[in-house]
Each structure stands twice: as C-alpha cells, then as structure tokens.
C-alpha cells in the first residue's frame, strides 16, 4: 500500500516537471463562452449550437488565430451545459465570467434561461449575445446583452400580413401552448396584429393547451367549427406534426401557418407529407439559399449529416458578430474588464452586418433590425424561400 502511494506521488511529480504546461507563462487567449442546453428538454438545440461553434473555431484555427490590431491571438471555446434550466444557465454564466475569463458569451438559446443569464452578464459587464431568445426582457435595460434574432412583436405582424396578402383571408384561428413562454407571447402578438387589420372578433377561435398534451381534438373541433379560414400555431417542431395530422383528420382543409419554432430538420421527419405545402416565418431558408448561407449549409451538412436548423445559423451569425466586435475593438490590453467594455462598444457600432440570416444593425436595446423570411415546405420536404418581409 505504502509503495503504491509513494510511486503515485513520484509519478505525478515527474509528470508535472516534464509536462509542457508547467512553468509556462500565461498567454492572452481569447475565450468565447457558449452557454447551450446540451442536456434537458431541447438537446437538439444545444447540439446545433455546439456544432456551429465548433465550425467557427475550425475556421479561426485554420487562419492561425484571431487577428486583433495586427496581432494574432489563440481562441478557445468554453462550452457549458445549462441543462435547459434557469439556475444552471446562471451558474454557467457566472462560472464562465469569473473563472474562465471569457471575453464574450454566446447563448443561452431559450428565453427562460436567457433572461436570468442576461442579468448575470450585465452585472459583470460582459457581452452576451443570445442567438435565439425572443423575449423582450432579455435585452431590456441591459447594455451588455444583445440578441441575434428578431422579436415576437415583429414576427407576429409579419405572419398576419403574409396571410392577408397571400390568401386574402379575414378569419383566423390560433392554437397555442399556454404554459410555454414563447408560443403564448407570439399567439398574443399575432392576435393583436390580426385584429388590428381585420377588426375585433376576426380571430374566431383562440384555443390553448398545456405543454406535453398530445391530444388536441377538442380544441381542433372548435376551430374547425368556428369557420376560420387559416390556423396559426406557433408551436415547437415536436408538437406541430400532431396538430397538423389531427387537424386533417378532423376535416380541417385550410392552410396551417407557423412561426420560427417550426424550423427544425426534425419537423419533416416527424410530420411527413402532411406538412408539405405549409408556410412558416423564420430567420432563414435552407433550400435555395445562395452565397455564404449556402456555403454554411453545405459545410454543416457535410460535417454533421443533416441540414442546420435556424438555431445553428443564428449561433453562427452571433459568433461572427462577436468576432467582428473583437476585431473592431482595435487591440486587446489583456485586462479583461477593459477588453470586455471595448468589445461591447464595438458591437454597438456595427452597422449592416452581413450575416447568413440577413443584414443586421443593433438598436439601442441590443436587438437587431433584420428581415423575416417566409418559408414554404415544398414537396420534397425541404424548407424553401418563399418571400421576405423587412421592417
């Protein structure tokens, strides 16, 4: 026993002495934190985030580091799992800021984590860009918090206008999850926008259910009977197939329109032909994309074997924004507080940033002004660009 103990100690000391890490001077490394839901309710979102981040890092490494003010710096990603829980997202942010000294944080994706995590980032004066969070509170009164996507108050009217212009309908039905923050918010915004256009009472059915419900027949029967011409359902990709197939079984014949939460590769897999020909609003369309967007999609497909969701594309854009801001900051002093502030100032100055999900300029709140895309699920089950709407 004693021999083993002594041997272990000796082995460790030798390993320490000859390890390349010992006595190495601390270098200035640019660290970017990724706060992603790798486990928990929405692991697919976390996976997309992680993959996009790894692709970005690959590019940087290929270029031999990130050049800031004529000097190349090594870049490191700190990927933390927030378990899709608010308190874990707060812990992850605190850890990355106080322990890992990250220069900027990308994430968390869902609003329920991004709102409390944004508080932490703002408190410690560190730039945080949430690629996917649509809740206005995420960036409200927080100078250090930004986002990479448009907000619900913009998306709702876009969908309402699209339906009116495309089909000329005047009566709409809404089906949404009352227990989930995002669908509920968007349903409300859509209702307001629709009624502003077509007069009070033009939303003839406004039905709700609770997360994890799988039977929507009573709500859908009401919707079918209400005489609505179109059904708007801002639900997640795992619920949409159930809603669509049940609606069709109950005799619904009108179009069903959705929002950016539909935009997952899983949707068509789960839904099959029932979803062909439907429309939803989103951040970008994979099929028929051009230029940098196409390059990103092709590369992602080649590396990971499936078409990237909008989360991956938005994460990619957020990382590019962070990179741009770091480079615009001019030079890194090595004093992390100062550098973070410089990055924040540079980020607010970015104008007409050309991302793969469209051109972006930040408002004073840290929300981007960018276009929404209307996507059609074509007969091959691909997400096809149909039209776009800009503010």
């Amino acid at each position: 026993m004693r021999k083993i103990a002594v041997l272990t100690v000796v082995a460790f000391s030798v390993a320490m002495l000859f390890s390349s890490l010992a006595f190495a001077a601390r270098k200035t490394i640019i660290k970017i934190g990724i706060n992603a839901p790798l486990t928990g309710d929405i692991p697919k979102v976390g996976e997309g985030t992680k993959y996009a981040a790894q692709m970005w890092l690959e590019d940087i490494e290929k270029a031999g580091g990130l050049e800031v003010g004529g000097k190349k710096y090594d870049v490191e990603l700190v990927i933390e799992d927030n378990e899709s829980k608010a308190e874990s997202a707060v812990k992850a942010n605190t850890k990355m800021i106080s322990q890992d000294d990250v220069l900027a944080i990308i994430g968390p994706q869902s609003s329920k984590q991004a709102v409390p995590a944004g508080e932490v980032a703002n408190k410690y004066k560190t730039v945080m860009i949430s690629p996917w969070s649509t809740n206005p509170d995420t960036t409200l009164d927080r100078p250090y918090v930004f986002r990479g996507c448009f907000l619900d108050p913009f998306q709702g009217p876009v969908v309402a206008n699209f339906i009116t212009d495309e089909f000329g309908f005047t009566k709409a039905a809404v089906l949404y999850d009352v227990a989930s923050d995002y669908p509920k918010g968007l349903a409300e915004v859509f209702k307001d926008a629709w009624e502003a256009k077509h007069g009070a009472g033009s939303v003839v059915a406004y039905e709700s259910f609770t997360t994890k419900d799988t039977d929507f027949s009573s709500q859908l029967t009401k919707i079918v009977k209400s005489g609505a011409q179109v059904l708007f359902t801002p639900q997640y990709y795992n619920e949409v197939p159930l809603i669509v197939s049940q609606a069709k079984n109950l005799g619904w014949e009108g179009p069903i329109v959705g929002s950016d939460s539909w935009g997952s590769a899983e949707l068509v897999e789960l839904c099959g032909e029932a979803c062909y020909g439907l429309f939803f609003s989103s951040h970008y369309a994979a099929a028929g994309a051009k230029g940098a967007t196409k390059a990103f999609i092709d590369r992602y497909e080649k590396t990971y074997g499936y078409t990237p969701d909008d989360v991956a594309a938005l994460t990619w854009d957020s990382l590019q924004l962070a990179q741009q801001a770091i480079q615009d900051a001019g030079k890194l002093t090595g004093r992390i507080e100062k550098d973070r502030e410089a990055v924040r100032d540079a980020l607010t100055r970015i104008e007409d940033f050309d991302g793969i999900t469209g051109k972006m300029t930040f408002t004073e709140e840290g929300d981007p002004i960018k276009c929404a895309v209307i996507v059609k699920i074509n007969n091959q089950g691909e997400f096809e660009f149909y039209g776009s709407s800009c503010p």
């Binding site: 460790f12 190495a24 799992d81 812990k91 605190t94 409390p116 508080e119």
Partner: protein
Amino acid sequence: MGIAKKFQQVFSTVPMLGWFLGILTAVLIEYFWGYDYISYYLGLPKIPVLFGALIMLKEPMMIPGALAYDLIVYVIPVLAVAKLSSVFTNPGAALLEKLPLWLSAVIHLVCFYAILHLWAGINDYRVLVVKLTLVSIILTVSVNVINGYQGEFSCSHPGFMALGAYVSSILTLVLFTNDKIFGTALLPPSLGPYLFPLVLVAGGAAAAIGSLAVAIPSFRTRGDYLAIISLAFMFIVKSAVENLNFIGGARGMGGQPDLAPLPVIFFWTLLCIWVIHNFVTSILGKALNTVRDDEAAAESMTVKTRKTKMTAFMFGAFWAGIAGGLFAHVLTYINPGMFSINRLAEILAMVYFGGLNSIVGSIVGAVSINVLGEALRPLELFKWIIIPLILIFVMIFRPYGLISFTEINAKKLLEAKHKRQQGVSP
C-alpha cells in the same frame, strides 16, 4: 486498511478547532498565493474553483497540475496545521468546553462562517454555488420533516417553494423596486434588507396556508393518498401561476432586488436547522415519530394524530416557502417551469440520498447532490448516468440513505481530544 487506521490514530487528537485552523490556513494560502504563485507554477490558468474537478474533467492534461494544487494548497497545510496546532487548540477547546454548549457552538459556527466566506469570496462562482447549496439544505431539511420524521410521501414541495418564491418576490417588487409590473416602489429601497426577513416569513406563511389544501383532505386517510394529492397540488400551483398574467405567467418574473447575500442565506439556513432540530426533538416531534411508526398505538396513547400531522406538514411547507423566497432572490428571476417535476426529482433525490429522519443526513444529501451536479457538469450527458447510478447504489447498500436515523452529538464533536491521549477512556 493499515494506512487508513494509522491516519485515524494520528489525527484523532485534533479537535474541531484544530481542523478549522488548518482549513483557515489553506484558505489563506489560496487567497494570498493561489493565483500569483501556486497555480501559475503548476501551469493552471486560474485557481481551480471546485478543487479542480471542473478543469480535470474538461482537460485531462491538467490533472497532474490540479491534483498538485489540491495537495499543496489544501491537503498538506490542513493536515500539518491541524496536527501541529493540536498542542494549543486542545487547551483552547477545553476552555470552550467550560462555556455553555450553545455559546461554544456559536463560536464554532462564527469561525466556520468566516472561513466559508473567505473561501467563497475568492471567486463569485463559488459564492453562487454555496448560496444555492444552502438553499437546497433548507429545502431538504424541510422535506425531511414530512418524508422522514412523519413518514409520509409528499410530492408538493416544489409547489410550496413556488408559493414562497412568488409571494416574497411580489412583495419585494411592490415594496422596494420600480418595475413595470407593479409601478413605483412603495417604500424606500434602502429599507429592503431590514424588511426582507418579514417578506420571507410572509412567503413561508403563504406556503403553510397553501399546504392546508393538501393536508385537510389527505390526512383523513393514510398511505398513498397524500402522494397523489400533493402531486396534484404541485401541478395546480404551476398551472395557476402560468395562467396569471399579472405576475408574468409562463414568461416568469424578474428584477427582484438582490437582497440575499451569503451571510443572510447562511443565517436563515442555521435558523432553519436549529428550529427544525428543536421541533423534531420536542414532544411534538416525538409524537410525530410515534404516528409514523403506529398510528393506532399513538392514538391510544393520547397523541392527537391529526393535529400532529397537520402541524408538521404546515411546518415543513413553511420552510419550503422560505427556501423558495431565498431562491428567487438569489437568481433574481423565477418562472413556473422551475417548480415542476424536475425540481421534485431533485429534492427527493437529496432527501433519500442523504438519509431519512436525520438533519445531518439532509445536509449531507443536499451538499453532495449539489456539489456532484456542479462538478460533473463538464461530462454533459454522462452526468445524468453517473448521478442516478450513485443513487441506485446508495439505495441498494443503504436503503434509508447515507446517514439515517442518527444525529450528531454536538458536545462530542466540539470537545477537546487530548483526554484519550492521556489514557482516559472516552
């Protein structure tokens, strides 16, 4: 085995005070030399925050460095100082022994807090982990009153926590902050820290009143009914909050003032442990145990079983409400999704892991599940395989949890240890 025995023999002469001194030395070493010298020469980017667990799992290259750091900063100084200082810490402990036990305990606790504060203060991430762990301790001890001492199976603790969190958050938002839901503050925000205890108690009281909704219908019977009713209660609270738009609904409620710094939470945790300890060792607590073991016999021995059960249930719910209030003010954001089935699983894991019918067990359970959960986070998905596996093994080998049905004897823990050395049998 030989080494362990020898180790125990050598260090059996160190009193609690000696260990404190050792840990204090380690923390001071870390505080003054940890970043600039020790971690620098060991090639570590920074002070390893949770004894290097995070960095070791993330970058295996750092394992020797992190282990060496632990050895240099923690293991060697703690052991050396504890052993060498026993020359004068033992007389010190003997001196304290002459004081009343409560005073000696208070002195020890103050020392403990000072060390904890210093250790956590090195990094803000540590502060957050310690805060959430302390909140978990309150929660676990309060569940133990119902699931352990009372022997029922209650599932409504997330619901009580939600009640406490929402009521106290609404109060602080109405009283001390200008926010967009409730408008301008009614009282000057500087009063916040002074009135915060009242706010917390109000949250706890709300939870206790809410618990009546479970207690009144379910304590007419025994067995599984409580589990089902309490589970329903949890979902009722969650759905109710989701549908109440004026407190944010599913979007949640944010912007609570930061009224829960580490000392405040530590104080409440101590208060909770002390009060619950007194409760379960009181006549009422003994009555509660008899009700658990045999309700008919207890009734025939003039124990008012129904009243006893209701009191204990409300008492447990009250402390869950306090924990909820503290939790809300640590995170400064709450949403109904936080107080759902996941939280329940976490709470029950802490209670059954640590041990039923024991306050020390609850503390051990809360601390170990929290620290494990934090330390294994870099493993991502495998974390959710390892922790349940540990739980299964605990259930197989210690069906009532790690430390169950026992309490630590404070007097024995704090006494001077030199008597044994002189051959006086303990």
